[in-house]
Symmetry: C2
Subunit: 252 residues, 2 copies
């Protein structure tokens, strides 16, 4: 696992913390990073608060290869992400002529007021992230990628960034559905995990249409090993007489 | 705001970080805490990893009045939350006879194997949290409340805990829908915010059925002030000629 490439996601916004909005960006980013061999190790959600944002950015960027932030890059007073990132990196926040150019593709010059121009304030040394939906760009500086919070825009930005990321080996996962309660498979499963430290076996109970069961997910980077360990799970379940569905390996 | 009561939520689970599962617990807890005057200031999601869990629990419990954790309290090898909480508090993890009693209400004695008994391992000094769905309890120790990850069970546990929490004044919110882009209202909105530091004004752009607009949410603990500031937002929007819907104050 020495070549593991890790990431953190930082969600910025009072509306997530108040319960007003259900976050869906974490799920999208985590899934997409898995496809390029980058593993999300940590997520934080913080308020639109300068000290909280700076502290989180600096904590996460020192621990992970990549950090992705969402939210707080619009034109209003509560959009403070760009200035916080600049402070976290100790660089000035500058009006970026490339970003002004992009805004002018969407906004008539007479409507490009000072509030909208705030969206062109970018930390010195940052590269812009394309926004094919509404032009106002995100940016990345060092290992931190700063994106919008509106899901449709965030997704478009992330999709543009994704091919540029340098991932490690992709995590493959194999799922087995066992129609038996978690507590019945736990001991045998633990023994399988002990014999396979190069895979991670997760156990997820479910209730579907009145039936109870457990999904066992075996994850690892070596396809043959994932298949082998997942086959052990299937054999264990069948041996105990439980109805079992082997869903096989899923590409991330 | 000196009497503000704050909380953090710690979501424990590889399945959220891998994108396999969309978290819905944060939204439920945040909404419920708002109803009792407790404000979520921070959320973290960490892997099923001892060091990561202990570090997060200790960081969050020192900063907030309440910490709520979800996930990792089942019977399988990847359920390590209880032992991590014990280590975070520096107390032993003990088999709790009250918890064994509860498990026996749901599980026949001959089926109460060692794996299932792990769900009765509780840090010394903790109080149990009732699980009306499947009995296996959560617990709270100090200011940390440890709950299941399965949403139906987590919700039942949280609903039981909620009336026991000591909140501060509840945050009221007033929403105004303005059919105008964010960038057009930003300057006037910023001026309103500057004159009302005792409220928080959030601006959320939207696109619905082909129409673009902005929802302005004014939040605060003083009903008269929230109404007054939200009325300023309405007046501002109508003055600029934008179609405006005053949704009024919503109880948390």
């Amino acid at each position: 696992m020495s070549e593991e490439v890790t990431a953190a996601i930082l969600v910025i916004g009072n509306e997530i913390l108040s319960g007003r909005t259900q976050d869906v960006n974490v799920h999208y980013i985590a899934t997409g990073l898995g496809e390029v061999g980058v593993r999300v190790k940590e997520v934080r959600v913080v308020a639109d608060d300068e000290a909280a944002i700076i502290e989180a950015v600096n904590a996460l960027r020192s621990k992970h290869r990549y950090v992705f932030t969402t939210g707080g890059i619009g034109p209003t007073h509560d959009d403070i992400t760009a200035e916080c990132i600049a402070k976290a990196f100790g660089v000035p926040l500058l009006r970026d002529p490339r970003a002004v150019e992009l805004l002018l593709q969407q906004i008539k010059p007479e409507n490009l007021n000072e509030a909208r121009l705030r969206m062109a304030n970018i930390p010195e040394g940052a590269e812009l992230i394309d926004n094919p939906v509404s032009r106002a760009p995100g940016f990345h500086i060092g290992n931190v990628y700063v994106m919008a919070g509106v899901p449709r825009i965030m997704q478009a930005m992330f999709d543009g960034v994704k091919p540029t990321l340098q991932g490690g080996p992709r995590m493959l996962s194999a799922s087995v559905i066992i129609y038996a309660p978690e507590g019945s498979v736990a001991a045998a499963l633990s023994a399988i995990q002990d014999g396979a430290p190069d895979t991670e076996i997760g156990s997820y109970p479910f209730a579907r249409e009145g039936r109870f069961g457990t999904v066992i997910v075996t994850r690892g980077t070596d396809r043959a090993r994932v298949a082998e360990i997942s086959a052990q799970v299937v054999a264990m379940a069948r041996e105990m007489g439980a109805e079992t569905v082997d869903e096989g390996i899923k590409e991330p």
